[in-house]
Amino acid sequence: MANLTRLTAAELSKRLGAGEVSSTEVTEAHLERIGAVDPAVHAFLHVDADGAMATARRVDDRRVAGETLPPLAGVPVAVKDVMATRGIPTTCGSAILAGWVPPYDATVVARLRAAGLPILGKTNMDEFAMGSSTEHSAYGPTHNPWDLGRIPGGSGGGSAAAVAAYEAPLAVGTDTGGSIRQPGAVTGTVGVKPTYGGVSRYGLVALASSLDQAGPVTRTVLDAAMLHEVIGGYDPMDSTSLDAPLPPLVEAVRDADVTGLRVGVVRELGGDGYQAGVRARFDEVVALLSDAGATVVEVSCPHFDYAFAAYYLILPSEASSNLARFDAMRYGMRVGLDGVADPSAEQVMAATREAGFGDEVKRRIILGTYALSSGYYDAYYGSAQKVRTLIQRDFAAAFEQVDVLVSPTAPTTAFRFGQKLDDPVAMYLSDVATIPANLAGVPGISVPSGLAEEDGLPTGVQVLAPAQADDRLYRVGAVVEAMLVERWGGPLLDRAPQLEPSA
């Protein structure tokens, strides 16, 4: 039998449906793969082998009994550790939540379960999704399967590395400023940030509520569309959920065609700040789209230059408020105070947050506290909110001229561990091309665009569409993927080094 871990989710779905393979076999193969390579990759914080196998057996039984099952039933999935999973530990990569077992499921997780996807486990991430490298995880970083000495991107580096290392055919992540798309770019995988409100936020541990959005992490564009259709759509449990049907996404992949489509290259998302190999691969994709019949023009979004600054005021402000819930009272860590016989709640709270939060979380909470403090509020938070308006206007003007926008996903390929750890601004610039979409709520996808010549590491191309036109991401992404895979003679991940099973 073919190696089940190398198959796409779409292919697994087909074979499961035809009864050629069972979910038990598929799930077992992935658990074995995790056992073999995860000691080196560290994509997972927790593996739920028993739960995954129990789901797989149930799906197999139902299929044998002749039930009609959802398309992805029996195809295993990995879940970013920021999503509440009933009965499975959820830590958000933070020591303050070590060992916390949620009593309920996030809506995304509930939908995965309802669709019969065995949950393999929880994937590593920067603490509370703050970071671009997973180096801010309290449990140690995830290693990029292309080069174990390099970062897998972040914050969702665990989900991206899990699919890149064939430990899972599918994963889900969250994207607040690029945490799905940037890891996709640097691991040679596909990541989608849906339209804000398109996927429920209920049960996601909030980082910045006006920016957070959950989405698929996969190896192919079709797999992402299939997973997006499972997790997306209206949820009354999230007050910002869009009460509108998703556009047909799988259909957009199957009928992918860019003839006559107007594609805008964003002038501000390119140039000197971008690595030469990233730019070269991006220029090739633009040429391919033109060959495929798209009309390519350059568009200017002048305020995108300010997106990074606005984002690093808005996000810390919202985060400083959201993370106030970690107060040592109702869940999570509580520490005692040395030499204090009867400490007050306030003392316990401050000591616990000192012990439980890492450097990056502290940096952002303090920055947000400052930006929201009276006297500075208008100058910082207020100005950032105005920039947000200007960025939304830039998008609106651009989408009057073109149907989609394109740019490189990340300015560089995967960097080495430690390279940017003590230079927060350098780390923050990893998301310079992905941030504008979150500020405006529009959807984006990252698709592999090749390998940079100078270092042989993966690069990604980003496609952005107007709000609620997520189908366009899939239409363009599928065309780019098909043309590049044909040129390469196979998927990009086929060129990744083989991982040696750990002893």
């Binding site: 600054a309 009867d342 940096r363 400052y370 950032a384 909110q385 105005k386 920039v387 529009v442």
Partner: protein
């Protein structure tokens, strides 16, 4: 560019200590030495939002227009007490047990 010539004030070590107090984080002196200069650099990088935030530009707090959402006023199941308390650091008489809120003499 706003009319006033507002220069971003430098963030000092003392201010960072004060902010950490507001945020209920007991930073150590070593952390203050480490974080304060980094925060000053970050603040310097983000202060440029002022350059384009003219008075005529409206504020945006959210990507989509927000609306109030009500659900039907019907009883529905909620978490049983033991599950709600399952992750608590301390529990007493089916309640969250917390350290004292007030001072000794209060």
């Amino acid at each position: 560019m706003p009319a006033d010539h507002w220069d971003a004030p430098a963030l000092t070590r003392d201010q960072v200590a004060y902010l950490a107090g507001l945020a209920r984080i007991d930073l150590t002196p070593a952390e203050l030495d480490h974080l304060a200069p980094q925060l000053a650099v970050i603040l310097d990088a983000v202060a440029r939002v002022r350059e384009v935030a003219g008075e005529d530009v409206p504020l945006t707090s959210h990507p989509l227009p927000l609306r109030n959402v009500f659900r039907a006023d019907e009883v529905r199941p909620c978490l049983p007490a033991d599950e709600a308390l399952a992750g608590a650091p301390a529990v007493e008489q089916q309640r969250f047990s917390v350290p004292r809120i007030l001072g000794e003499e209060a």
